[in-house]
């Protein structure tokens, strides 16, 4: 209690800067006066009386000091004093301060901006209540719809029936919710609104979805279990983003009628502003609909009733204290029970495969972590890269500080000689570097903020609603602060250490004679380190850039120029399968007649659009659909003229054309890889194959072979895989309901590829009106040129290689500055030596070579040390290089030469200046 009171008083004194000195002075004065009077009374002369009084009083200064210390908070005062002193010293050296602060800001800013991404994508939990209680089924993020009962050990997406089985049987969950693995576009229009339907991203979720997350509606109400019953009035909840951006926070939206894919829905509420659903992805859902309304909205392509179609992710909130492992074991048993109950719908001997079906539960705090999966490796690389930049920054600033502390050696020595405590000097030096690093950190935060925004813009340039905010959060602020402190200590420790080793005798000796040569060793080591690290970054940047160039400029097998892709969704406009053929014909004709259009074709999905369909096949007379044989092939439905429009050459047989009507022989065009894989040396034309088991093996007759085209956006480092094209007019009736549903869905062609005549351009407004003339309910989901579509595929790689190059250049510049600094400083400390050499007959070129040789050695050492590191980085990047040789000698050599040249250029200027030194000048400098 007493101590507390005292602390309070002292803090108050400190805070209000109350000066206790006058009071002490007055008391002292009074004390001395009384003592003097007494001394006089005792018979002393006045002066003597006063002198004795002062003597008995004791050392006034020391008393004053301890009085002051008692009054305030000496520790903090001393700290403030040190900081003020450091600031004053930094103000005296503006060039040094600005250089160091900017360098630090770049380094800290780069690291912070990467960390904000790491934090948002890899570390953050969903913005829901108590995310640590959430558990999800499966480990990987799967997309989007998979057929079949068996998922091996990868049960992350399941069918609706399996979900309800788990939900009703499993104990230990408070709530278990299911939701669509990936959303889909919905055509949404408010009833009685003049606007036409617009496409929004939506997701079907179970009725307890919001209850499970513990998220309540921002306005109106959230969806409940009663909304998710068949026969319930269709209800939907809207995202805050749409409510704000499209409807201006209009409260009348809540409770009003909407048309979603032409079906009447009531919007019952709005989700909270920060809520982005279950998955951090580049497009957050704008509408959440109950699972029970899925058949209503999706019509014939509905998935809800298919027990063997997996399309739902599961996340549940476990009861407090429940054991996840025992729940997992329980669900495992339930899975096997459920599979056995469907045995009669499966293939022969399927029962043998049931025991090998395994499911896992994993933490669900971050929801479905597809983005984490996608970006983890890249972010790790970027974090390491920015860390290296920060290290180089530290090295550079440490170097500057060392030079400074060498210049202040004499002053330090003098301070020591006059009795300054070594600790005090170290504290001063460390305070200075900490002040510097905190200044740099504050500025770095601004740089980091701008950097994050820039990266987000680049990374998601085509996306509209990225739920990642660039504004710094508490963890990011703490990170930046922590990094600044560590940086400050890292580059401040060497100069501080040198401060304690200032020898008082130096002060007496006067001029800094050649002791500098010994002291330059740490600085030289630092430069070697810098060169090595820069080489690492440069070669990483070179490798990534070369790899990107390779994949971007590969032969795609189709033409990029003059093609525009218009993405539409006929499901949204409520088309039935039997209406599709006519719809595509009308779309084709109305676009073909536009000015500048050379040809038009519709396709299920265009090359490199990101979509992919693949199915196991069986070839007539060839292979049984084995469990282990890899018979997967990609496929897409097209209309006549498609190959001509995208410029994919038919090298054998004929393309799909008007002959391929519904009633005619089912045909297919295969690619070269398909022919190579399934018909090695035979002529594939006229052969038969089909999707699924052997009973369909004679379904399609091969009529043509197309040149291999890069159609899918994954496995880019591998050769093009087998692929086949089917006419959209023909369909097969499969016995298996899931396969039948797949066949129905495949007839919805989503991409319209328009080939323009040279020089002509298709404007989006013209495309819109043309499409509206066919059917006003058809909305354009997205429109871009084929080159843009391809380029978007590599946007992530482009971002990484750009950032790494940026960091590489930064490192190069910093290392060059470091070399310049060291060379210049060495020159300054060797002025007299050089003067002597010149006086003794050395000519200019000798001096020039002498100085340059020193720098060259440093660079050579740096490159030597950097080489194994750079090779290591190549190994580390390995799989990210799309088949590029990870030890590419040309790239390594280029990086090395670039580093060496810029380093020598940096050393050139001081060397040239050195060669101009005259003996007289050297003498005068003493």
């Amino acid at each position: 209690m007493r101590a507390l009171w005292r602390l309070w008083k002292r803090m108050r004194n400190f805070a209000v800067r109350r000066d206790v000195e006058p009071r002490l002075r007055e008391e002292m004065e009074q004390h001395l006066a009384l003592q003097t009077e007494e001394n006089i009374r005792a018979g002393m002369k006045p002066e003597e009386a006063r002198r004795q009084a002062v003597l008995t009083f004791g050392p006034a200064d020391a008393i004053q000091e301890s009085y002051h210390a008692e009054a305030g908070l000496p520790l903090i005062e001393r700290l403030l004093h040190d900081v003020r002193y450091a600031l004053r010293r930094l103000r005296r050296a503006p060039v040094f301060t600005v250089t160091a602060t900017l360098t630090l800001a770049l380094g800290i800013g780069a690291t912070t901006s990467i960390f904000s991404l790491v934090h948002a994508i890899l570390l953050k939990s969903l913005p829901v209540s108590k995310p640590d209680q959430l558990v999800r089924l499966g480990k990987k993020a799967d997309c989007c719809v998979e057929g079949g009962y068996f998922r091996g050990n990868d049960y992350s997406i399941v069918s609706y029936e399996l979900y309800t089985h788990f939900r009703d049987k499993t104990k230990g969950f408070e709530e278990m919710a299911a939701f669509q693995a990936d959303g889909n576009f919905l055509a949404v229009r408010r009833v009685h609104d003049a606007r036409t339907a617009e496409s929004y991203f939506g997701e079907f979720v179970s009725g307890n979805y919001f209850a499970m997350f513990g998220v309540s509606a921002y306005a109106g109400r959230a969806l409940t279990m009663s909304d998710d019953e068949s026969g319930a009035a269709p209800a939907a909840i809207m995202s805050y983003r749409v409510w704000q951006q499209t409807y201006g926070l209009d409260p009348s939206v809540i409770g009003s009628e909407f048309n979603i894919n032409g079906k009447p829905f009531t919007v019952v509420g709005v989700t909270p502003p920060g809520f982005f659903g279950d998955t951090l992805k580049s497009m957050a859902p704008d509408f959440f609909l109950p699972l029970a309304t899925e058949p209503l909205v999706q019509g014939d392509s509905s998935l809800l009733k298919h027990a063997d179609t997996c399309w739902l992710e599961i996340i549940g909130r476990i009861q407090p204290g429940a054991d996840v492992r025992s729940i997992e074991a329980q669900m495992q048993v339930e899975l096997h029970q459920w599979l056995r109950s469907h045995l009669n719908e499966m293939y022969a001997h399927a029962a043998l495969d049931i025991p090998s079906q395994v499911l896992y539960l994993s933490p669900g705090d971050a929801g479905i972590t597809s983005m984490r999966q996608q970006y983890e490796d890249w972010l790790r690389i970027l974090l390491i890269v920015s860390g290296i930049v920060l290290l180089i920054v530290c090295v550079n600033v440490a170097n500057l500080m060392l030079v400074r502390s060498l210049e202040r050696r004499q002053q330090m020595a003098l301070s020591m000689a006059l009795g300054a405590q070594p600790m005090r000097l170290v504290r001063g030096a460390l305070t200075e570097s900490l002040v510097l690093s905190l200044l740099g950190g504050a500025l770095g935060l601004a740089v980091g903020f701008a950097g994050t925004r820039l990266i987000l813009r680049f990374a998601f340039e085509t996306m509209t609603a990225v739920p990642i905010s660039a504004s710094p959060s508490i963890p990011v602020l703490l990170f930046a602060f922590g990094i600044s402190l560590i940086t400050g200590v890292a580059f401040g420790i060497a100069p501080a250490w040198m401060a304690t080793h200032a020898d008082p005798v130096d002060a007496l000796r006067g001029a800094n004679r050649s002791t500098g040569r010994v002291a330059s060793l740490p600085r030289k080591t630092l430069v070697v380190l810098q060169v090595a690290l820069s080489l690492v970054l440069l070669s990483a940047a070179g490798l990534l850039t070369a790899a990107l160039h390779n994949i971007e400029h590969q032969n795609f097998g189709f033409e990029l120029d003059g093609r525009t892709v218009i993405h539409i969704d006929p499901v949204l406009a409520g088309y039935k399968p039997e209406q599709l053929e006519l719809l595509y014909r009308r779309i084709h004709d109305s676009f073909a007649n536009l000015p500048g259009v050379a040809s038009v074709a519709c396709v299920q999905y265009s090359p490199m659009s990101g979509d992919s369909w693949s199915e196991p096949i069986s070839v007539e007379g060839k292979l049984e659909l084995g469990r282990n044989a890899d018979t997967e092939a990609g496929w897409a439905r097209v209309v006549p003229g498609f190959f001509d429009v995208i410029g994919d050459a038919i090298i054998k047989g004929r393309p799909i054309d008007e002959r391929d009507k519904a009633g005619a022989q089912h045909v297919a065009v295969i690619n070269e890889a398909f022919a190579r894989k399934f018909f090695k040396n035979e002529d594939p034309i006229g052969k038969h194959f089909g999707q699924g088991g052997m009973e369909y093996a004679n379904d399609y007759e091969i009529v043509g072979v197309a040149r291999d085209a890069r159609y899918l956006t994954y496995n880019l480092e591998k050769p093009v895989g087998p692929f086949f094209f089917l006419p959209n007019t023909q369909s097969t009736s499969y016995r298996d309901p899931s396969a039948a549903s797949t066949d129905v869905r495949s007839h919805y062609l989503h991409d319209l590829v328009v080939r323009m005549r040279p020089g002509a351009r298709l404007s989006e407004s013209l495309a819109r009106t043309t499409l509206a003339s066919v059917d006003p309910n058809l909305a354009i989901v997205r429109m871009q040129t084929l080159s843009e579509q391809v380029a978007n595929t590599f946007s992530q790689q482009r971002l990484i290689s750009r950032l790494t190059s940026l960091f590489g250049i930064l490192a190069l510049v910093l290392a060059s500055i470091g070399i310049y600094g060291v060379t210049a400083y060495n020159l300054a400390s060797r002025t007299s030596e050089i003067g002597m050499r010149v006086a003794l007959g050395a000519d200019r070129s000798d001096i020039f070579a002498l100085i340059l040789r020193g720098s060259f050695l440093l660079v050579a050492f740096g490159l030597l040390f950097g080489l194994p590191l750079a090779l290591g980085v190549g190994r580390f990047l390995g799989s990210q290089l799309y088949g590029l040789n990870q030890f590419d000698p040309i790239i390594l050599a280029t990086a090395g030469v670039t580093m060496a040249l810029s380093a020598l250029f940096a050393a050139f200027v001081p060397a040239y200046r050195g060669s101009l030194i005259s003996p007289m000048q050297a003498l005068r400098s003493e």
């Binding site: 005292r6 007055e26 008391e27 009083f57 004791g58």
Partner: protein
């Protein structure tokens, strides 16, 4: 400042504080000089060369709310700071006197102990 000097002041500070409290308890409100004189009278030369060290101790006691102070007129008609014991100070004094008594008693017993008592 050499270490031995510092240690000496530390020891003095504790005893000095107790002396200040006792003086104020017995004599009532006093100014710094008065306190110094009384302590000198009783303790001999403890403060004879270092009267000034009293003032930081007074400040500390005041911050601990053991004493309070106000300006008043002194015998030579100048402004002087008068210190007086608070209730809290009296409590503190009693506690410390008890502690001191105990300590000195133990130490005294120890110092007068005979060889056979310690063996």
């Amino acid at each position: 400042m050499t270490p031995s000097m510092k240690q000496k002041t530390d020891v003095q500070q504790g005893t000095l504080a107790l002396m200040v409290l006792k003086t104020l308890d017995v004599l009532g409100p006093l100014h710094g000089y008065g306190i110094a004189k009384r302590i000198e009278q009783i303790s001999g030369d403890l403060l004879s060369v270092n009267q000034g060290t009293l003032y930081p101790v007074l400040l500390r006691l005041e911050q601990e709310r053991a004493i309070e102070s106000s300006w008043g007129a002194s015998e030579n008609n100048r402004r002087a700071r008068y210190y007086r014991l608070t209730r809290e100070g009296r409590r503190q004094l009693q506690a410390e006197v008890r502690d001191w008594r105990q300590t000195t008693e133990i130490i005294a017993r120890f110092l007068t102990a005979k060889a056979e008592q310690l063996s």
